[in-house]
Every structure is written in structure tokens, then in C-alpha cells.
Amino acid sequence: MKTVFSRMAIATSFVCATLVYAGRAQAEDFFTYASGKLLLTGGVSQVEGAAGGGLTPWAVIGSYGSRDQTGANAYYTTIGTQDYKITSYGALIGIHDRVELSYARQDFDTQQVGAALGLGAGYTISQDTIGVKVKLTGDAVLEQDSWLPQIALGAQFKSNKNGNLVKALGARDDQSTDYYISATKLLLAQGVLVNGTLRATKANQFGILGYGGQDNTYHLQAEGSVAYLVNRHLAVGAEFRTKPDNLGVAKEGAAVDIFAAYALNKHLSLTLAYADLGNIVTRRQSGLYVSLQGGF
């Protein structure tokens, strides 16, 4: 409880400081930005804290830090579905446009389903994710005369905070690591960004329901995003993410979303999406996804 509180406090003060800073900086028209990358080219924060779309990591390194800079940002996301309320918050630093380190917390509020399962209404399952991503090659934005995408390798070290429950539901473990490789390309002349990610994972429902189940092996899953740049501040797009279906107690399906990401300036962005997370225990879960990100 204490750690949750201090974590919240850190995240909140981080966001507050950013908001104050962003407010002072006003519009991005002039030199309000200490950081190099072009607007939106660092992506937003995906649900496990890596820079990407909402669901899927991209090969870009988060924050607006360019090759000779280091930047950071924090985010807060909520998704309300038929049966659950999911919140996710965290922060990342992008070092020299080469390495990204991230932390994210997900709280999965089971609301009435918790009561029905005898866990108590509002029973909440939590997961911590520490992420590391390394850019291997390419530059999604600058190498416009080449088809080579930016490619990055990443790992997400996941720890489920409700081990007894998820093991009772059939998961093998309360800790596991996802590995992924992402390729991202901005087709600037067309105003289109495409990303493909391959993930090796044991996670059930992103890890909310633990790791491993009927088998305890890694499953290779495909993820993808496309985004269209409407103008310098606004991108709209769609994503999908397949998930293993490895837990005996309930079927699990792919997640998809359509999103609009608006960057007010380099310090503040808002992403709205309609997400369909597939079946989660009870039935198909879909709803509004709202994410706020602040950084420098």
C-alpha cells in the first residue's frame, strides 16, 4: 500500500511538474522545446509503458530526445469496458534515441465480476512491468529514401501482484518476461506510419491473468499499427494485437483499437481510442481508451 502510494505520488508530481512546464511553454510555435524529435514521432505510451501505439510497442525510442539528448515522459491511461476498469500509468526515459527504459503499473478492477467470483466487488489485479528497448538500426523518420524500417528489440519484465489468484485460475507463474522485435517506418510523403511487432510471451491477458497455463512455453504473437498523419498535431490509426489463448478457464482473443492521438506540443498529448480487447473471462470487452502523456 505504501509503495503504491509513493509510486502514485511520484507519477503525479511528475505529471504536475510537466503540466506546469507545458503551461508556461505555451504553444510550440517557437522554442518551447528543448528536445529534438519532431512532434508525435516518439509515439505515445502503450499499455505496458513502452513508446508505441496504445496497444503495441513501436521501434521508436520514447520521448523527444534526439541522438544527442535524453528525454522522459509519464502517462496515465484508463480503459472502461463492459465489466472492467483498467488503469495504467508509468514513465519512461529515452536515452540518445537509442535506449528506452520504462516502468508501468496496470490495475485491473474487476468491479462486479469480482463479486460474482467471490473475490469481492472491485477486486483489483495489478501488474508491474519494467521495460527496456534498444534501437538496432534504421531511422523511421529520416531515412526517407530507403525502405529499411527502424528496428528495435525489447523486453518487458512483468510481475503480477496477485499470484495466488492467477495461479488458482490456472496460470503457472506470477513473473515472466516478454521479448519483442518491432519494425517501424514513417512514409512521410504519404503521411503514413506503419509498425509491425513480433512478441514472444507467456502472458495471459497482457499478464493480468499471470503467465503460462495449459502449457508453459513462449507463444509467438503478431501485433501491428497503422497511423495516418492528419496534420502536425494529429494522427489517427488502428492497431491489433494477438494474444495467446492458453488459460483453461476462459477463452482469450485478439485486441484491436482505432485511435486519435493529439499532441498539443512536445510536453502534452492526449490519445483517445475505441478498444476491443477481445474476450476477458466473462465476455468480449470493449470501450473507451483515454490516455494523457506529459514529458520533456
Binding site: 528536445s35 534526439s66 541522438r67 537509442r98 534504421g138 526517407q144
Partner: protein, 159 residues
């Protein structure tokens, strides 16, 4: 399992700290003389307002560059009029306005300026601001920027 994860993490950090790996060395570096002509029907050139439009755009662009602390120092002491004239001829060529770029090649011009990637991106951003103010369509802006972006290989000389 935990130690495996830590090992992987350490390995990845080690991997990325090898500087030789970090650089991409494209075999051919384009120069302004070979800057692509990206439109042939004159429509893109017209989106920029033709010759007069480009002249006005460069006037604004230079004012913005000189007001931006990130780029100011590069431009205060140079022959701004000549740089603007050469930029007009280069952009005109790229946009299919039928010009031939008359300036020096990009590598030579920028060789001793000490441009970092962040400076390059700052200049692109200032160009975007200038183009927005001239109400150049976003799509047309991006077509030009896509043709300019690879020149970072000639312009950016700092790590």
C-alpha cells in the same frame, strides 16, 4: 529465471553501447546536385506558390531560424541573402519547378558547421512552421520534407 532476465537486460545495454554498431553508413551519400525531382506536373510547385511563393517562404524561414535559439548561431554571420537564393533554387528543383540548383554541394557547405541531429530537426521544425504560415498543404509539405530528410547524411556531422 530472474537472473536470465537480468542477463538479457545487461546484454542489451552492452550491445547498444558499442558505438560502431550505432552508426548506419549508407553506401551512397546524396548531394544537392542529385536531390530528387519529386514532381513533374507542376502541381507541387504550385502548392508552394511557384517562384514568388518560395521566395516569400524563405524570407519567413530565415526570420524564424534567426529567432530560434537552437538555430540562430548558425545563421547570424552568414550571407543570408545567398543562402535564401540557393534554397529557393534547390527547393524549386526538387518540387519540379524546372530550376537547376546553382549552389555548392551539401556536404561541402555544411562540412565545418558542426551540425548535430537535434539542430537538423530544429531546422526542419522551423521550416514546418514557415510552411504552415504560408498555408502550404500538409501533404505537399511532407513530400518536400521526405525529399530533404535523407540529406541529414551530408548535413549532420556530429555524433
Amino acid at each position: 529465471m530472474k537472473s536470465v532476465s537480468l542477463g538479457v537486460m545487461a546484454g542489451m545495454l552492452l550491445f547498444c553501447s558499442v558505438p560502431a554498431f550505432a552508426q548506419t553508413h549508407p553506401a551512397s551519400a546524396p548531394s544537392a546536385a542529385t536531390a530528387p525531382v519529386i514532381s513533374s506536373d507542376g502541381k507541387l510547385y504550385a502548392d508552394f506558390g511557384g517562384h514568388d511563393g518560395l521566395v516569400a517562404l524563405m524570407d519567413d524561414f530565415m526570420v524564424i531560424l534567426l529567432a530560434d535559439p537552437r538555430t540562430k548561431d548558425f545563421f547570424v554571420a552568414v550571407d543570408q541573402t545567398r543562402v535564401k537564393v540557393e534554397l529557393v533554387s534547390q527547393f524549386c528543383q526538387i518540387l519540379g519547378g524546372g530550376c537547376t540548383y546553382t549552389g555548392k554541394d551539401m556536404k561541402t557547405v555544411h562540412a565545418k558547421l558542426g551540425v548535430h541531429q537535434a539542430d537538423f530537426l530544429a531546422l526542419v521544425e522551423d521550416l514546418q512552421i514557415a510552411m504552415d504560415r504560408k498555408h502550404i498543404p500538409f501533404r505537399a509539405q511532407n513530400q518536400l520534407l521526405a525529399a530533404l530528410a535523407p540529406q541529414h547524411r551530408d548535413v549532420v556531422t556530429e555524433p
